[in-house]
Subunit: 327 residues, 2 copies
Amino acid sequence: VNPVAVDLMGGDSGPAVIVEGVKSALDTMGGSVIAVGSHAACELFAGDARVETVVASEEILMSDDPASAPRRKRDASMVVGATLLKEQRASSFITFGNSGAAMATALVKVGRIRGVARPAITIELPVPGTTSTVLLDAGANTEVTPAWLHQFAVMGSVYTAARLGIEHPRVGLLSIGEEPGKGNTLVKETYYLLAEEPSIKFVGNVEGRDIMSDRVDVVVTDGFTGNVVLKSLEGAAHLFANAVLGALGAGDDGVLDLALPKLLPLWNQMTPDDTGAAALLGVNGLFLIGHGASNARAVASAVRNARQLAEAKVVETIRRLEGSTGE
Amino acid sequence: VNPVAVDLMGGDSGPAVIVEGVKSALDTMGGSVIAVGSHAACELFAGDARVETVVASEEILMSDDPASAPRRKRDASMVVGATLLKEQRASSFITFGNSGAAMATALVKVGRIRGVARPAITIELPVPGTTSTVLLDAGANTEVTPAWLHQFAVMGSVYTAARLGIEHPRVGLLSIGEEPGKGNTLVKETYYLLAEEPSIKFVGNVEGRDIMSDRVDVVVTDGFTGNVVLKSLEGAAHLFANAVLGALGAGDDGVLDLALPKLLPLWNQMTPDDTGAAALLGVNGLFLIGHGASNARAVASAVRNARQLAEAKVVETIRRLEGSTGE
């Protein structure tokens, strides 16, 4: 496959962290990367033959209006990278910048897969002790239709098969009870669409408690509920980790020192560093949006995952399943 | 205030656990209780002058159809207890039985406060290190209107002031961004109703991550989102606790034995035993629904909390704020 393209600009910690992550990914996976950024940022790869650099004269900032940014800043690194994806010089593109602007750029510069109504933000939630749970939509569409959720289910299943190596991922519809009649009107109508979809293994409604469990691989929901759940779980993980450390550290009796080395692997597993980036499924190319706060380890994961998704032909499979010939 | 009425039937572990919890509550808070149940269950209070027993010849089971149960089983303990509340012989009523049937019984036998469109299930989420966060609706109404959410906000604020002793609880509207324009149509329209409501301290939109924090006291949302979030957090707490114990216990080096006494208070704080029951706010009387799996400690908490809410005149205050004279 063609190289992964990476936006060096827009991360909270500046280009150096992203450069470090890219180098780390190349060290382990081999291959090559196209890096897009300012002249100074590109210079950080000087002498590294594995990296093709493309200098962009502009940068989309967190303060830029997301919707108009891709049109106002045509030579921004994010826009240049999206164009590399559009022209298929890159097999995927990852940005760690303004996520609203990234969504707008994906739609304006790359466009949707023909037949897909709306792209969905697709994230992996790490579940200690078992494989991650893939959740979509995590925030792109606050209001959806049953037909859109149907497409999210198909796209999420394709993604999960590729990323987690599960041949027939279990797809669940997020609701407030397991029976088909439980939930709101949207869920009740979507249930029957998913039950009749031959390309997925639909396991019926799932509840909130099933997300962090091994009962389901792909959880489908609207972008409002998905975003609220995602952030609720992030908040709970943060609070919980701090509360455990606080409880173990109270009394200053050395218990925390004994416990910490045993807890660190769990803490690492619970952070999203191994996932690296959210995929904007439904876009006509592998467009990934990483968290602005990503560290080098998260950047490296994102690059490796992007190549894995490209090799597994996720976009091509979605294109075929949505009955389209591409745009 | 009049005594708290308690349904002895319907709990997963049988009447003895509920009886034990009631006695424990009476030991610490004094006062009296009306207990409703089978002859055998009532006999467990023999000789206890603090408890008035009312024998009911029927019992609503988990297998009973919720909607029709209160009409089909007119002498069920749940129905008899609700009638005690309706007739104001009891200041509140708590059941640990079939929660769907409990909602139906509350509506059929006690009715709504005049002017309240829909009752909302109101729960307290324990937040380690700070006061609980009150969440409503946790599942009674899967589809709502801005006007209903407005009423939920007012009722939740009254409840939280009484239960947590916060004079002006911070009320937040659950959304996917803090700015007023963020969210779905429902949230955007509700925002302006809450901003203009003089009886609450509205702090604007809150996100999922704010639920398990000290940034907000009352979180208002529809029953679909609320139920999904509640169960997601319950599932995460369960998984995290097990993962931490598993990590500390690995290697069998004694670290878990040292850590456990320090973690137990945290584990206890995170379980809902201190909350005891969800309140069905909007019903014309204090109707509380406890979890079927409640242990004696949870039952005792529910009884104490019920009296606290009755003494604080929660229902009377909601009645006044909703501009009603009662039914």
